[in-house]
Subunit: 385 residues, 2 copies
């Protein structure tokens, strides 16, 4: 097994839980990779030798971003809808149907090629783990093939048949399909089951039915909730002991308490609020209550067509009361927690050597230099891409 020592790291973020600071920062550091995992981290002066040596040139090295929420399997775009919304129209979940029609009309090859392009774009920006949902098929065939496409790119695939109720069917009929034949076709391709618990999509009883059926079929649960207004979704997620509940824009004190008590991760998606001009979720309130936060892109053509985790960091710091350290933690270790993963998001011995090099002397620059593509190299499993 080949070993590589990365020397001359100006600042190394490890997220080591044993460190005194949140990020486990080591200045003037080195890191040793053996095969696909981290073998050693520490001060450069103590670095062991290895088969190969890479000079980081004083750059900052961080764990690769873990983007725990995306909807990459789709066709078409909604640039005109975006421009109209920015000119004053409000965001409506029904716009999803536009993408459903384009996605159904696309070939498997077109969908695969499109996902490949977006995943490559994410990788260039430092993302090393990405969750990908279905949800623009809304038929047995199209949901199953969406997940089969996603599975080519990640193990973190999520069955989101319950995205919206498609035209031509009643909610009752559709929930029966989502919990029946569609689940059967999709479960082999998915790790997670999800639902959009929101006014205009699925209510709490319908969401519960979808999640319980999915979990009975061996999937793990996560939920979209409280994006467009207050609602029962966050408490449902906590009651069911889901790994994560996503959006959390409109929360009551009872919702915050339920999150703190349950340990369910709150995934915040500020690209959505940026792109829909909604108010941002209050991350500070959640952190102060002891809730663990993940930040993710929600990359999708309707409400957040960004793949940029650095933008999410900058928005979390500008708009949501997070420090640069808390925001970086939330897109690495927080994202990993939201996927129930302990092998990524951390750079300590034994963990996956998924990492990003930043053309910056400090991780703070991810927030301090908004919009600037600072990632110069992304390593996946110990190797540069």
């Amino acid at each position: 097994m080949t070993s590589t020592v990365v020397t001359n790291i100006g600042q190394l973020v490890t997220n080591d839980p044993a460190a005194a600071d949140l990020l486990g920062v080591i200045d003037d550091a080195a890191l040793v990779v053996e095969g696909s995992t981290v073998a050693w981290t520490g001060p450069a002066t103590d670095a062991p030798t290895a088969d190969e040596q890479v000079d980081a040139g004083g750059r900052t090295v961080i764990p690769g971003f873990v983007d725990s929420h995306s909807h990459l399997v789709f066709a078409g775009d909604r640039a005109a809808e975006f421009a109209a919304r920015m000119a004053g129209e409000s965001y409506a979940a029904g716009g999803i149907r536009t993408t459903v029609a384009a996605t159904r009309a696309a070939s498997d090859e077109e969908l695969t090629s499109h996902v490949a392009g977006l995943v490559a774009e994410m990788r260039r920006q430092g993302t090393t783990t990405v969750e990908i949902k279905s949800g623009y098929g809304l038929s047995v065939l199209d949901e199953a093939r969406s997940l089969a496409v996603a599975r080519q790119f990640t193990e973190e695939t999520t069955y989101l048949g319950a995205h919206v109720v498609p035209d031509g069917t009643t909610p009752e009929e559709y929930v029966a399909l989502v919990t029946g034949a569609m689940l059967e076709a999709c479960a082999p391709h998915a790790r997670w089951v999800d639902a959009f618990c929101e006014s205009g999509a699925f209510d709490a009883d319908q969401s519960r039915a979808v999640l319980e059926a999915g979990m009975a079929a061996g999937l793990e649960g996560r939920l979209h909730a409280n994006q467009l207004g207050p609602g029962p979704g966050v408490r449902l997620a906590c009651e069911l002991g889901l790994t994560a509940v996503d959006h959390c824009t409109y929360l009551t004190d009872a919702d915050v308490a339920a999150l703190a008590d349950s340990g369910t991760i709150a995934t915040l998606l500020p690209g959505v609020e940026f792109s829909t001009r909604q108010p941002y979720p209050d991350a500070r309130r959640l952190l102060d209550a002891g809730v663990t936060i993940a930040l993710a892109s929600d990359c999708n053509p309707g409400s957040s067509f960004t793949s940029s985790i650095p933008l999410c960091i900058a928005l979390a710091v500008r708009e949501m009361g997070m420090t640069p350290a808390e925001a970086l933690y939330a897109v690495t270790a927080g994202g990993a927690a939201a996927l129930g993963r302990d092998d990524v998001g951390v750079l300590t011995p034994g963990k996956r050597a998924d990492l990003a090099f930043l053309d910056a002397p400090s991780y703070v620059h991810l927030a301090y230099r908004p919009g600037v593509p600072l990632v110069t190299s992304t390593w996946l499993g110990g190797r540069p891409l």
Copy 2:
């Protein structure tokens, strides 16, 4: 002279003033370059032949960004000050002094290398013309060498000795220096003269003295004004017939009327408001009054350490009431107007072939895909960088 035809352009933005739409958009277009200038634009089906052919692969082609306001000549950074400000401290112009000390301590080679890095970073993001100010020297020697460094990278150099009053001197003494020996040393390296007309920096009389002395020495005038609060700067700029006045965050109705009447360009710098958590300037109000707007980065280590013009576009659309078309115009033709240039910012025959290729089917994606590095290639004077 070699000619090149760029074919298979999905969407071409020309900013042709003769077009019916603001951006002079041509779908399914081609563009011919001869030497360093544009020779022809039009529908791909009508494209003439040329010595060389480049396939744009369906990408969007836009005029290169004209970033009319930056402060790239400095040393050190202020990441800690940024993080403290995000944790609740307010922005104070006095922070400039931190950078002055670091800049004075840096060698010419260090300053040049640092500017080269930032200009390269801008170029990768699609910027083809950049204005660079002095203003972190604040001594005859350090202002003059700052401009000499800047002049290696652009013709658009601006003498900003009147940035703040340095420690150890009175405002009266310093204005005498800025309008005397410092001006004499700096004028040979500068095209523009500028002052920071703001509470805590220079008042209207002092700013007027600096501008009039600079103009008497053959420089053209521009001004920082109305950034941190209401003030006399915008009206002073209009009265003096300056090409541009920059920031314009706090404007009275009289300020807006003066801008509309004078034709002075209002340069808005949303990276500052993003990074200082100040309210954004109201671009819509200015556009509705008939004022021409430029958007620029204000790239500097204190209040806006972004070099990303695409971020400025996204912020202008999200926060300032501009359409994606108005925002793109403001960073191309608007930036050119703010520099008194008519050879850049437009892709019509005879203009400089400075352009950027976007991995997107439409320019709208610059706002629709915030944070995503969409620029795949930047051409300067008809040649890829």
